[in-house]
């Protein structure tokens, strides 16, 4: 079956969801992303990516608890699905395999 394609940003968001465990929601993912990558990320971009990932069945979501700083609004907590998990795994395997296929001569020339 054709593998679902993931864009670069989607991949990073998906990884972040994995990192955050059961604390993954819009703002927390945004902040984690900013810290991890050092680039400025807008909340809406993250939401959009999460929305797409959910449509692709990579993540599932449920409504979490409300906090005062959110004006009493609940968060949507995202968790990785089995498909999301496998997809990440496949991506890593692919990357690893490709890394391993790089000839040693060139590999050693790459900056470490």
């Amino acid at each position: 079956m054709k593998r679902t394609y993931l864009g670069e940003f989607e991949e990073i968001v998906l990884l972040t969801v994995a990192i955050m465990g059961d604390m993954a929601y819009g703002v927390s993912i945004t902040e984690e992303l900013e810290q991890q990558t050092g680039r400025s990320v807008s909340v809406s971009a993250v939401h959009a990516a999460l929305h797409r990932l959910e449509e692709k069945y990579m993540v599932s979501s449920h409504m979490g608890e409300a906090t005062a700083e959110r004006g009493g609004r609940r968060k949507r907590i995202f968790t990785l699905t089995a498909l999301g998990n496998r997809t990440l795994d496949e991506i890593r395997l692919l990357r690893n395999r490709m890394w391993e296929s790089i000839p040693l001569k060139i590999l050693s020339a790459l900056p470490r």
Partner: protein, 880 residues
Amino acid sequence: MQKPTPPRWADRLLEWFCAPHLLEEVQGDLYERFEKNVRVFGEKTASREYIIGVLSFIRPFALKRQTEVSPSLYHKIMISNYFKIAFRNLLKYKGYSFINILGLATGMAVAMLIGLWIYDEFSFNKNHQNYDKIAQVRIREVDEDGVGISTSMQYPLLTELQTNHQANFKHIMATSWNVDNILTAGENKVARKGLFMSASAPEMLTLKMQYGTWDGLKDLNSIMLSASTSQALFGDSNPINQVVKINNEINVKVTGVYEDIPLNAQFNEVKFISPFDLWVAQNKWIRERATTDWDNHFIKIYAQLNDKTDFAQASANIKNAVLNNLGEAFKEQAERKPEVFLLPMSDWHLYNYKYGQVDPEPLRMVWLISIIGAFVLLLACINFMNLSTARSEKRAKEVGVRKAIGSMRVQLIWQFFSESFLVVVFAFFLSLLFVLLGLGWFNQLAAKEMMVPFTNPYFWLISAGFILLTGLLAGSYPALYLSSFQPVKVLKGTFRVGRFASVPRKVLVVVQFTVSVTLIIGTLIVFKQIQFAKNRPVGYTREGVILIGMKSGDFYGKHDLLRNELMSTGAVVEMSESMGAPTGIWSNNDGLEWKGKTEDKTESLGTLVVTPEYGKTIGWQFVQGRDFKRELASDSSGMVVNEAAVKYMGLTNPIGEDVSWKFQKRDRVHYKILGVIKDMVMESPYEPTSPVIFMIKGHGGPNTINIKINPAVSASEALPKIEAVFKKLVPTAPFEYKFLDEEYAKKFAAEERIGQLANFCAILAIFISCLGLFGLASFVAEQRIKEIGIRKILGASVSNLWALLSKDFVLIVIISLFIASPIAYYFMSQWMKKYIYHTEISWWIFALAGIGAMAITVLTVSYQAIKAALMNPVKTLKTE
């Protein structure tokens, strides 16, 4: 310090655009982010970041509303799916769709045109706002000939109604007869039909005024013009207070201009109205003799009811308005027991009286036409049903699969209905186009001014109902039949449409062809009847004769002058004057006596006054005796009679016989018969000629000029010369003429109209039927393609295969021929009974219709049959 909050407007904006199911988390996240930003960067930056955050959420995923799947919505989705599938099916089978839509559209266009026609018939006179309150006063009399209903009233009845019965009515209106009058304004002259009406007429008929008011007839010397008359006389200018001269006698002032009365109304011919009192004032005989004479019927009376009374009540009140006043002086009239009654406006058109009884013809015509229309529509629906059922085997698998994956029967029924509705809606819009294109032609045919009432909500309501009905009618069979298939049987392949599955289809085709063939036979018979009447010996020459009505006093007393001038132009060979045109018997009288007259000869005879050259002008043909001679003074007491008159009088040797005539209370006058002419068809060409007597001196005088144009001169050359003579000698009247042959042709108008209408319906019926047959034939050919392939390999020739495929259809047409012939025979012999002078329904008509229908069928079917027979068997057998 107050806790900082994000900008309100940005919040509002977010709440407005963001999809409700996302709002909570999105807004929550933005708030959390805002709180943090306030702590880290301060309120100002936080607010700015918040706004940017909100704006950046304007992207599709946040805008898109979540579609809630509720039961009602589920239906909506299914319904849209039905239409999607239906549309795909239409596109997949383009040929079938084309046949279906074209056939249905044709049928619907016919039904719509006929619907418009019926609407027009029933809306006759309805443009008058007082439609349900207006009635015409009529008199019912009984004498030895039976009941008679007369429309012309006596002047004293008007007075009687006004003085003693006014309480019943809001208005009582008297009118003169509708006759051509010449109107002159300055240099412009026109001849227009008009009426002299009581002053209440404009209000009663609710005329739409362009200039002036409804009170326009209150002055004695006034005239109200229709918009078209005003246009002809005064152009676009406002004619109020201009002077118009009626018949070069009366000067009247224009007091109003009304919009022309529409064609589907009683008074549509009234192009000007002047006061009734003016007419009375102008005619001395009315004032002197007619106002108290209960025996002189010469006006028409209309009335508008009071709000409190109804027609029955008012009729009862005025019942004896004539009888009670007759007294001793009019004993004879009293014996006939005249009863006055009111004929409501709603009955004028379709329930009018003819020969003392309600004339069933107009309503019968409406019925006939609507039945034909319904049949044509039915034919189109049959096409649809047939093609759908024929394709059922193909779609059986689809039904099986659908049922297997859980479709309910109801859903399948819906699916097939949605398919039929889609086709019907397409067909409806196509038929609207057809109607718009064909309406002009149809109006000409039906002599009406119909329009598609696009602005009328009822039109759309009826159209919607029409679509619904046709959709149900056309789609019911496939919807109910196809959805009943059992999925197991269908998918396993054991489903076979039985031997008799095609029987209902064949029956429907038989119905189609029965209707078509009946219509064809009917059309042929109508045309044969018209042709028969046209071929009847007319007894005079119609070609090259023009007729001029002597509409004003200026024409009179100039016979010799006109004749000499006209003959000297060389364009005219003869001119004469006569009572009425040769296409009608203008005057009928009794009081004639002759040798051997028996008691039962009470019929009135045509008594026409002519000038001596009348016979030469119209070319009548003598059987016996001679024509009038101007130079013989004794001929002024001579008579020329027709054969019918000789027969009626029972004269064996008519020449020289003495015939005397006592006209009303005048002295008896004696005549001698000079000659006998062949019967001339002056009135209905379908009836035996009535007895007519021509004489030079009678009672009353000629009112029509007949001119025979020199055959060596063309009409276009002759007419200007004739016109010049009239301009010189009768300068006050416009030169208006009619051709005798055209006038004669008008006698066939009603029958030709029926014939053309039947022809139109018959052609479309056969077209629709053939369209269906074409579809069926292609279906059968497709179904039997393998069989044909095998037969070809085994040596069947193309003609063998052609016969094989055509045989069934030819059989169907033969069956319908046998059903249609007696039906057509029955109805057409009923129709023929109306005509005394009629053709025979001969066998060759049926044979011709049969051969025609057969030829068309064979042609239609052959295309498909030969196409299938020519197919390469290798190709057809290779698949599967």
